[in-house]
């Protein structure tokens, strides 16, 4: 059994069609066509370009990572104030004639914990929203998508396959291949998958 067949057993339902592109313009064109046809799609980009992502996801003005960061920061700052005040009162030692609860130095601890917890929650927010870490890859993924090629997966039913193929071809996709709705085994890359169609 070839590697391609191993990734695509008979009877596995079709998830959609994927195409790879040489440039961002072709990818955006394919996305516009897929949107016009009412088909759901997912893009892969080799470089984290903000301008491109904004065009790909114009609806994504919300930033849940920001909310996670804000909540983490507020929680961290509040925890630091609570900790410093309570501990100072629990062991009331007068140093240098300063009050037991000396807010100026406590603000420093609170600042540090605001940043610390904000950053940690920011990272946790990314993991949650981007659904990372993942050990199993989408079968639409190709290693070239993190190097120099743009990719688009158009989700479609078998009846819409011809339409999706036409959309990708119309946007000058370099290669088009069907993607089956099946995750690959953990840490197995679809690099070994042979091209089905040029």
């Amino acid at each position: 059994m070839s590697a391609a067949a191993a990734n695509r057993p008979a009877g596995t339902p079709l998830l959609g069609l994927a195409g790879s592109f040489a440039g961002a313009e072709q990818l955006l064109q394919a996305r516009r066509l897929a949107d016009a046809a009412g088909l759901d799609s997912e893009a892969f980009v080799p470089a984290p370009e903000e301008a491109l992502i904004r065009k790909l996801r114009p609806q994504s003005t919300q930033n849940p990572v920001r909310l996670w960061t804000l909540l983490g920061g507020i929680g961290g700052g509040a925890a630091a104030f609570a900790m410093t005040i309570w501990m100072s009162k629990n062991w009331p030692l007068v140093v240098g004639g300063k009050p037991i609860v000396s807010m100026p130095p406590f603000i420093d601890v609170a600042f540090e914990w605001t940043v610390l917890f904000g950053a940690v929650f920011c990272a946790l927010g990314l993991l949650r929203i981007a659904r990372l870490p993942r050990l199993r890859f989408s079968p639409a993924y190709r290693p070239e998508f993190v190097v120099d090629r743009y990719g688009l997966l158009i989700r479609c039913s078998p009846a819409e396959e011809a339409l999706a193929r036409g959309l990708l071809a119309g946007a000058q996709a370099e290669r088009i291949w069907p993607v089956r709705a099946r995750l690959l085994p953990p840490l197995t890359l679809p690099a070994e998958v042979e091209d089905e169609e040029e």
Partner: protein
């Protein structure tokens, strides 16, 4: 001509760029790397033996003796924290300002930050003597029912440095995740598993990239004030003491400027051999290095201004003790380190006003080392002279460095270089995603110029992508 070198990136294929940057990761270590790593391990061994001896005998083997109870260990601490300062700052601030030369230095300087904090963090523990009870400073429930004194800058340091380490580590590691995905896809066997785990399953999907970009700018925004806070708190270790030469309000900005200055110099010291050894001249260009040299001139000027202000304050205050402290700093027992750091930090960087020095790799490398030497000696002089010459001449005393302290200093460089050499061999030393963006930007700019028939002939003659 900066623009010409930027536009030249248009001719680079991203696949070729990735192959160039990942060459050391994909290949076996070279003999030169092995030699450097062996040397770093040897230095580390010297440090370990020295510390072991100090633990066995006690702090008495060091030169620490009343009245100078803070000397080379705290000097090392402040020096390494200063080195750590510039890495995240370069990366985060240049990211926020969208500086184009960021990609050349960001990854190496972030790594420098992590390893420098890991080095600096050892010294307060080592300076305790009874290093095994360092955890007393942490706020944890204990049978003695004691809590840390949060009014002490020494305790604030613990919070500042641990936060700085954690945030810098997140910023560094998360920045590398997409690059680890590239290594994963090129690797096989255990390396694919290792880099597969490190890449967290990154595929470049828009669902990953979109929150990732938001995370990155948030982390950069959080890291920037954090960087400033860390050395500010370190400076409070001194400025909250009622000692002539330490008790000054200028210390926080003065320390921050010095830290950025020394960090920039250390970036040059590290990046110049990295660039030559791994043949990265196309990605770390002379223009990039020249930009760092200009920043060094700026920070050196701020530092020189701070030194002069210190002397002005001492004179203007009319305080005998302040005036004496500063007079003895320049003309007392420690006159040589004082003039050494003055030359290295205030005069040597002025050479960068000449373009010839900013464009000479050898000159840059030598000047960066001299600045590093100057900054270490500056911290040493600042610490030791104040303690050696405080108020009462009857309590004055001179400090002499002992071999254990020299061994531990060598060990700290060994530890830092061991970590850095492991990094350059097993992780991408340049950010592939940022370089890719630079290539795309250069291609767009080149196309615009070509359409307007304004592309310089020298560039037009080169092959287009």
């Amino acid at each position: 001509m900066a623009r010409a070198q930027e536009l030249d990136m248009a001719g680079v294929e991203p696949r070729q760029m990735a192959a160039d940057v990942l060459r050391p990761v994909q290949n076996r270590p070279t003999l030169a790397w092995g030699f450097g790593f062996g040397l770093a391990l040897f230095c580390l061994l010297i440090g370990a033996v020295s510390w072991g001896w100090q633990l066995y005998i006690g702090l008495g083997v060091s030169g620490l003796m009343w009245p100078v109870m803070w000397a080379t260990y705290i000097t090392n601490f402040v020096f390494w924290i200063g080195i750590a300062h510039s890495g995240t700052l370069i990366s985060a601030i240049l990211y926020l300002f969208r500086a184009r030369f960021r990609a050349a230095f960001s990854r190496a300087s972030e790594a420098m930050t992590i390893f420098a904090i890991a080095t600096a963090g050892i010294f307060p523990i080592l300076h305790l003597g009874r290093a095994w009870i360092f955890f007393y400073v942490l706020p944890y429930p204990n049978q003695r029912r004691l809590w840390p004194n949060f009014r002490s800058p020494l305790v604030l340091d613990v919070f500042a440095i641990s936060t700085y380490f954690t945030v810098s580590l997140l910023f560094w590691y998360l920045g590398m995740v997409p690059d680890f995905a590239q290594i994963r896809d090129r690797a096989s066997g255990w390396r694919r598993t290792l880099y597969g785990l490190l890449s967290l399953g990154w595929t470049g999907s828009e669902r990953q990239v979109s929150p990732y970009l938001k995370l990155y700018i948030l982390l950069a925004g959080l890291a920037t004030p954090l960087v400033l806070s860390v050395h500010t708190m370190v400076s409070w270790d001194f400025s909250t003491s009622l000692l002539p030469g330490w008790h000054e309000e200028i210390f926080p900005p003065y320390f921050v400027a010095g830290a950025i200055f020394s960090g920039l110099a250390m970036v040059l010291t590290l990046v110049i051999p990295l660039r030559a050894r791994f043949r990265l001249q196309r990605y770390i260009t002379l223009d990039h290095l020249e930009s760092l040299c200009k920043l060094i001139i700026l920070t050196s000027s701020i530092l020189t201004y701070s030194y002069l202000t210190e002397y002005f304050i001492a004179w203007y205050s009319g305080n005998t003790y302040e005036r004496t402290a500063y007079y003895l700093r320049a003309f007392g027992h420690y006159w040589f380190p004082f003039w050494l750091f003055t030359v290295c930090n205030c005069f040597v960087p002025l050479l960068f006003f000449w373009r010839r020095f900013r464009r000479s790799i050898l000159a840059m490398f030598i000047i960066s080392i001299l600045i590093n030497v100057g900054m270490w000696v500056e911290r040493f002089t600042l610490l030791v002279t104040t303690l050696a010459y405080s108020y009462d001449p009857g309590s004055w005393g001179v400090y002499h460095v002992q071999w254990v302290e020299v061994g531990i200093l060598i060990g700290s460089f060994g530890w830092f270089m061991t970590l850095f050499l492991l990094f350059v061999q097993f992780a991408p030393s340049l950010p592939l995603g940022d370089l890719h963006k630079d290539i795309l930007l250069a291609r767009r700019n080149r196309q615009r110029l070509a359409e307007a028939a304004l592309l310089p002939e020298s560039l037009a003659a080169r092959s287009s992508p």
